[in-house]
């Protein structure tokens, strides 16, 4: 349940990457990923380049490889899907070690593996080098809808509180010997989820009250904008800029 521990996403540090303003890093991630997705899958060299640049950023930021590898596990369901494609795809086929593989399927599997992994590592690096409040502030500066960012802020704040409540409920249920094995046994679990909803909602009402008590009148105050220097912009754009150029070259060469 990695999602329950938001602080496990972050690697504390003071590197160049850590110090870049949140909105620049968010924008850089978007740009980088778009470039990766636009790159033709047959340009294998391009993906090698992406991987080494990501490795460079991780090295600069001091994010351990093991941390990245562990967090990459979210990819697994789609990797399973990707690995299935060469087996179930349609012809033409190629023989590989006695197994008949679909050519289109193999290419598809590679595409998913390569592009998906670049995207996942990019996101992991963003979260690892940027405190969540800075990501939210970044979204705000990038003109994401205010309501969305505000709701996201509350969600992040209360994620652990609620998952903690959920965990306590499950422990209480397990302590009384409850261990569901099939869907006709999940009623108790789901009923506790209902109780959890009510608790969450009622906490929302109390939070609202606490906000009103401190002068909240419908709009969240925004705090100190981070100063952005040209050097920061250049540093932040280095990674996606390189990716865009690579993608363009790959499109010309392989496209």
């Amino acid at each position: 349940m990695s999602g329950g521990h938001a602080h496990a996403l972050h690697i504390h540090g003071h590197s160049v990457v850590h110090r870049l303003p949140g909105h620049l890093k968010v924008a850089a991630l978007f740009l980088f990923v778009v470039a990766v997705v636009a790159t033709p899958a047959r340009a294998v060299w391009a993906f090698g380049l992406y991987a080494s640049v990501l490795g460079l950023v991780a090295g600069l930021a001091g994010v351990p490889v093991r941390f990245i590898a562990r967090r990459m596990l979210v990819e697994v369901p789609f990797l399973a899907f990707a690995l299935l494609l060469p087996l179930v795809g349609e012809g033409p086929f190629l023989e590989f070690g006695g197994v008949r593989l679909s050519e289109a399927g193999v290419l598809a599997a590679w595409t998913i593996l390569a592009k998906g992994s670049c995207g996942v590592v990019g996101s992991i690096l963003l979260a690892a080098t940027t405190e969540i409040p800075n990501i939210l502030a970044g979204l705000n500066r990038l003109r994401a809808p205010k309501a969305i960012v505000a709701i996201a802020g509350f969600m992040v704040r209360y994620l652990e509180v609620i998952s903690g409540e959920m965990a306590r409920m499950r422990v209480a249920m397990a302590a009384r010997g409850y261990e569901p094995k099939a869907f006709w046994q999940v009623k108790a679990l789901a009923t506790s989820a209902g109780a959890l909803f009510i608790r969450s909602y009622e906490r929302g009402e109390r939070v609202y009250m606490a906000m009103v008590a401190r002068g909240y009148a419908g709009s969240m105050p925004t705090f100190g904008d981070v100063l952005t220097s040209t050097a920061d912009v250049v540093r932040a754009l280095a990674l996606p800029g390189l990716a865009v150029i690579t993608a363009a070259v790959a499109l010309v060469v392989s496209g």
Partner: protein
């Protein structure tokens, strides 16, 4: 001594007809520290929510430092009456301690360097400056409760209203909080079931039961009246000797 809070004939019914307050009268002088006792569901929280304009009179009147509470004065009164709720997880809703402490004064129009200074002063008063950039949910309960106090101190209130400040705290955190509260120069109203805590911090106490103010006097005298205590379901902890403190 000037009057800090004046509540007159305050009555309140929740939608659905439950009468939570039934003609409450209460005066608190500036600089006083008053404890409020009463069984669960007696109307303590409902009364307290009126002091901050979360529930509004009429029927009845609430006057804070000479200003009657109404739609035009409510924002000013919210600044002057700081509410510390029971669960710090409700009180601390921003991603960092700094933003949480700044939330109140920012809403009341403070900004820039003054806002930063307010945040530092408020956190300094509760000895939590070191946690300024941490996320509230990574602090211990005792630390969170102290930050919760700071979130209202930052607005420079005249009156501090605390709902169960000592609940669930370990003995050391409970004592640390008491030391901090004693050092604050504000009028204080403290809703609590922790009678020894009230005795330590407040000279005066009131008892609310079934929406009515049923007793008002010195904390030591109230706690020393066994009949009054029993009727309102109040009990001192086992082994606690009033004469020994």
């Amino acid at each position: 001594m000037s009057t800090s809070i004046s509540v007159t004939d305050l009555t309140f019914s929740y939608p659905g007809g439950l009468k939570a307050l039934d003609g409450v009268n209460l005066q608190i002088g500036a600089g006083e520290r008053v404890a409020m006792f009463g069984p669960n569901g007696a109307g303590k929280t409902t009364l307290v929510l009126h002091l901050n304009g979360i529930h509004m009179p009429p029927p009845g009147r609430v006057v804070v430092g000479g200003t009657p509470l109404d739609d035009t004065s409510v924002m000013d009164i919210r600044r002057r009456v700081g509410m510390v709720f029971q669960d710090p997880d409700d009180q601390l809703f921003m991603p960092t301690v700094r933003q949480d402490v700044a939330f109140g004064p920012a809403n009341f129009g403070v900004s820039g360097d003054e806002l930063d200074q307010r945040v530092l002063d408020a956190l300094g008063a509760v000895e939590m400056v070191h946690a300024i950039d941490r996320a509230p949910h990574h602090l211990s309960l005792g630390e969170r409760r102290r930050v919760a106090v700071a979130t209202v101190l930052a607005s420079k209130p005249e009156i501090l209203v605390l709902d169960e400040p000592s609940s669930n705290l370990d003995p050391a955190s409970r004592r640390e909080l008491a030391t901090i509260l004693k050092g604050l120069d504000v009028t204080m109203l403290m809703v609590t079931h922790d009678l020894p805590y009230a005795l330590e911090l407040c000279e005066r106490a009131v008892i609310i039961d079934a929406g009515k103010l049923v007793a008002d006097g010195g904390t030591r005298e109230l706690l020393g009246d066994p009949d009054m205590m029993a009727v309102h379901r109040l009990e001192l902890p086992y082994g606690f000797d009033l004469k020994a403190v």
